[in-house]
C-alpha cells in the first residue's frame, strides 16, 4: 500500500495500462505538453511520446469520434474530456456511434474505449461548468458508467475500464483530485466493474450513493452517529453495471433508504435505483425512499446560492431522520 492522491492514482493506472498494452493511447485537450488541465497525465508524454499521448484541438465531437473509429479497428483509446460538460459536444459520437455499433453490427465491432474526465460541480464555476452528467450515459444501453470516489477505487476501476471491451464513461471529480488515500501497489490491482463497496457499516438506515457524494454521505453518517443513528453507506462505484445484490442486501438490513446523488432528480440515477428497490424489495421497506439531489435548477455562480443548490450532509441527515420517522 502506498498513500497517494486520487490524481496520482489515475496517473499510475494510465501508466501501467499503457506499459501493458501498446494499443492504449491517450488523447484530449492539454493532456501532453501541459500534463493535463488537472495534471492527471503528468509525465506520460515523456514516457510514451507524442504518438501515444496526444494534444488535440478543441474539437470534442471530432476527437471523440476519432477515438470510436480507432476502437472499431483495434486500438484502445482513452479520450480525456477536460470536463464532462464539454462532452455534451461529443454526445452524438458517444450515443449514436460508440454505444450502438456493437449491437447494430450484431457484434462485428467491439468498441473498447474509455471517455474520462471530471464531472459535477467544483467551486463557483456556474451553470455551464457545473453539471453532473452520469445519467446522460447510464440511460443508454451499450456503455458502462464508472464513478470512483477514492484514490484506490480510481486506480482499480480505471484499469478495469481500459481492459473492458465496451465503451466506458469514467467520471472523476475536480474536488477529488487532491484527496489522499491508500492504494495497492500491485500492477494487477483491478476492481471489477459492477461491484459496489460498503464504505461504512450501520444498521439503522442505508445511504446509497456514488462518486464524490460518498464523502457527503460519510459526513452525514458521522453527524447521525452523534444522535445514536448508525448508517450503512453503500458506494455503488459503477452505475452500470449496477450491483443490485449489494443494494438489496443493505435494504434488507436497514429497511430504510436515502439515495444521494450530485445531479438533478428528474430521471436521475436515483430514480432508477428507487424503482428497482420497490420492485425487488418492497416488503423490506419500512418507509418511502427519499432522494437528496442538487436543487432542480442550473447551478448559480454566487457562493451562497451555490451552497444552497448543492446536496449537503445536512440535507442527507434531514432525509435520514425522515425515513426513520424521527
Amino acid at each position: 500500500m502506498a498513500v497517494m492522491t486520487y490524481r496520482e492514482a489515475l496517473n499510475q493506472a494510465l501508466r501501467e495500462e499503457m506499459r501493458r498494452d501498446p494499443d492504449v493511447f491517450l488523447m484530449g485537450e492539454e493532456v501532453a505538453e501541459y500534463d493535463g488541465a488537472y495534471k492527471v497525465s503528468k509525465g506520460l508524454l515523456g514516457e510514451f511520446g507524442p504518438q501515444r499521448v496526444v494534444d488535440s484541438p478543441i474539437s470534442e465531437l471530432g476527437f471523440a469520434g476519432l477515438g470510436v473509429g480507432a476502437a472499431m479497428v483495434g486500438l484502445r483509446p482513452v479520450i480525456e474530456f477536460m470536463t464532462f460538460n464539454f462532452a455534451h459536444l461529443a454526445l452524438d459520437q458517444i450515443l449514436n456511434n460508440a454505444t450502438k455499433l456493437h449491437y447494430m453490427s450484431d457484434g462485428q465491432f467491439d468498441i473498447p474505449i474509455v471517455f474520462r474526465g471530471p464531472t459535477g460541480a467544483a467551486l463557483q464555476l456556474a451553470a455551464q461548468h457545473s453539471q453532473a452528467c452520469e445519467t446522460y450515459y447510464s440511460h443508454a444501453p451499450g456503455c458502462k458508467v464508472v464513478t470512483p470516489g477514492t484514490p484506490a477505487d480510481a486506480k482499480g476501476l480505471l484499469k478495469a475500464a481500459i481492459r473492458d471491451d465496451d465503451p466506458v464513461i469514467f467520471m472523476e471529480g475536480e474536488l477529488l483530485y487532491n484527496m489522499k488515500g491508500e492504494v495497492p501497489d500491485d500492477e494487477d490491482f483491478v476492481i471489477p466493474l459492477g461491484v459496489a463497496d460498503l464504505k461504512r457499516e450501520g444498521s439503522d438506515v442505508s445511504i446509497i450513493t456514488h462518486g464524490k457524494m460518498i464523502h457527503v454521505a460519510l459526513a452525514a453518517a458521522s453527524k447521525l452517529q452523534k444522535d445514536g443513528v448508525e448508517a450503512d453507506v453503500l458506494d455503488l462505484r459503477t452505475i452500470r453495471p449496477l450491483d443490485m445484490d449489494a443494494i438489496l442486501a443493505t435494504v434488507a438490513k436497514t429497511n430504510r433508504v436515502v439515495y444521494l446523488e450530485e445531479g438533478w432528480p428528474y430521471a436521475g440515477t436515483g430514480a432508477q435505483i428507487v424503482s428497482m428497490i420497490q420492485e425487488e424489495a418492497f416488503d423490506h421497506l419500512d418507509a418511502p425512499i427519499l432522494r437528496v439531489t442538487q436543487a432542480d435548477i442550473p447551478m448559480p455562480y454566487a457562493k451562497n446560492l451555490e451552497m444552497l443548490a448543492k446536496p449537503s450532509a445536512e440535507l442527507v441527515v434531514e432525509a435520514c431522520n425522515k425515513v426513520l420517522y424521527r
Binding site: 505538453e33 456556474a126 455562480y301
Partner: protein
C-alpha cells in the same frame, strides 16, 4: 466613457491621418483602454483576496482589440463573446459597477450574481454574453444576424471568439450558414495565439486568415494592438455589412499578458517568459497609442496621468459598489429557471421548499 477631455493638438496631428480618426476620438479610445486595464487589474486584486471565485479570465493586453472594435458599433448592434468578456461588456454599455458586482456574485451584478465572470449579460445594451463553452456562441451570433435580416433591420451582429474556437464544428457550420443566407454578422477571432497552453500552430496547419475561405466569407487581418488600425478597419467593415455585404471574418491579432485564467501561469512550457516580456514591452496597445498621441502633441504626461486617474477611480468605485451590493437572497435560487410557470403540471422535482 463620455467625459473624455479633448486636448487640442499643438504638435503634429497628422499621426492620426492614416486612420481618419479625430484627436477627440483617439483620446476617447485612450481613456477607454485605460479603464479596461485598470478594471481588470482591480478584478485581479479582488480575486487574489477571495472576493471573486471560480474561473476568471482577464483581458489585459487585448484592450486595443476591445476598444477599437466596439467603437465602430452602434447601440443597436449585437455583441457576443466567450468567457473573456468583462471589458467587452463595459465597452458595449454594461456599467463597470454591474460587471464588477457580477464578478463578486452580488445582486447588483449584470446577471444578478447567477452568472459570474464567464456569464455577463446586458440585453438592454445588446450585450449577449458571456459564454463558457468554446465556440458555442458562434451559432448564437448567426441567429442574431438571422433576426436582423428577417425583420429587415440594419444593425449588425459581432461575434468574438478565441483562436481555439475555430477548430470547433460550430464555427464552420455557422460560417457556412451565414454565407449561404448572406447574414449581417462579423466573426472576430481575438487571436492571442494560444488556447490555454496550446499554440495555434500546433492545432492548425493553415493560417487564421484562411479559416473562412472554404465558406466564401471574406477575411481581413489587423493588428489588434493598434487600436486606431482596428477601429479604422471595423468602421469600414461594419458599414459594408450594414449595407448588405453579407458576413465577414476578421483575424484580430493580439496577445494576452496574463495567464489563461487566474489559476494558470503567465508563461511556462507553452510560451517562454521572454516572449511575454517582449510583447508587453513592444506591443502594449496602451503604450502604442500613447506614443502616437505624444508624438502628435495631442497628449502629454500630465494629461495621461489625469486620464489614468479617471480610469482608476471608476475601477475602484466599481469594486466599492460590488462590495456594498448584497449577496442574492435565497429567494433568487428558483427564480428564472423558466420564463413561464405553467398553471398545470409540476416543474420542480427536488422536493425542497422553494419559498
Amino acid at each position: 466613457m463620455t467625459d473624455t477631455k479633448t486636448r487640442k493638438g499643438t504638435g503634429k496631428p497628422e499621426v492620426l491621418k492614416p486612420y481618419g480618426v479625430s484627436a477627440e476620438l483617439a483620446l476617447e479610445l485612450m481613456q477607454e483602454m485605460l479603464l479596461y486595464r485598470r478594471f481588470e487589474e482591480k478584478a485581479e486584486e479582488a480575486y487574489a483576496i477571495g472576493k471573486i471565485g471560480g474561473f476568471c479570465h482577464l483581458h489585459i493586453g487585448q484592450e486595443g482589440a476591445c476598444a477599437g472594435t466596439l467603437k465602430a458599433l452602434r447601440e443597436d448592434d449585437y455583441v457576443i463573446s466567450a468567457y473573456r468578456e468583462h471589458t467587452l461588456a463595459i465597452a458595449k454599455g454594461v456599467t463597470p459597477n454591474a460587471v464588477m458586482a457580477e464578478l463578486y456574485g452580488r445582486i447588483g451584478g449584470a446577471s444578478g450574481g447567477k452568472g459570474g465572470s464567464m456569464h455577463i449579460f446586458g440585453t438592454h445594451v445588446r450585450f449577449m454574453g458571456g459564454h463558457g463553452i468554446v465556440g458555442a456562441q458562434v451559432p448564437l451570433a448567426t441567429g442574431f444576424a438571422w433576426k436582423i435580416k428577417y425583420r429587415a433591420e440594419d444593425s449588425v451582429a459581432v461575434c468574438f471568439m478565441g483562436d481555439a474556437a475555430v477548430n470547433q464544428g460550430a464555427f464552420h457550420e455557422s460560417l457556412n450558414m451565414a454565407s449561404v443566407w448572406e447574414l449581417p454578422v462579423i466573426f472576430v477571432v481575438e487571436n492571442n495565439q494560444y488556447g490555454m497552453g496550446t499554440a495555434f500552430d500546433r492545432v492548425s496547419t493553415t493560417d487564421m486568415q484562411q479559416k473562412s475561405a472554404a465558406h466564401g466569407v471574406p477575411a481581413t487581418s489587423v493588428d489588434g494592438q493598434d487600436v486606431l488600425a482596428t477601429y479604422a478597419l471595423f468602421r469600414e467593415l461594419v458599414q459594408e455589412v450594414r449595407d448588405g455585404a453579407g458576413p465577414k471574418f476578421v483575424n484580430l491579432e493580439t496577445y494576452r499578458f496574463r495567464g489563461h485564467s487566474m489559476s494558470d501561469p503567465v508563461s511556462g512550457t507553452y510560451r517562454p517568459t521572454e516572449e511575454v516580456e517582449r510583447r508587453k514591452k513592444e506591443d502594449d496597445p496602451i503604450v502604442v497609442l500613447r506614443d502616437k498621441l505624444f508624438a502628435g502633441g495631442l497628449l502629454d504626461q500630465a494629461g495621461l496621468q489625469e486620464m489614468d486617474a479617471t480610469a482608476r477611480k471608476i475601477a475602484s468605485e466599481a469594486a466599492d459598489f460590488a462590495e456594498n451590493s448584497p449577496v442574492p437572497g435565497p429567494e433568487n435560487l428558483y427564480r428564472n429557471v423558466w420564463a413561464e410557470v405553467n398553471p398545470h403540471g409540476r416543474l420542480f422535482f427536488d422536493g425542497r421548499r422553494r419559498d
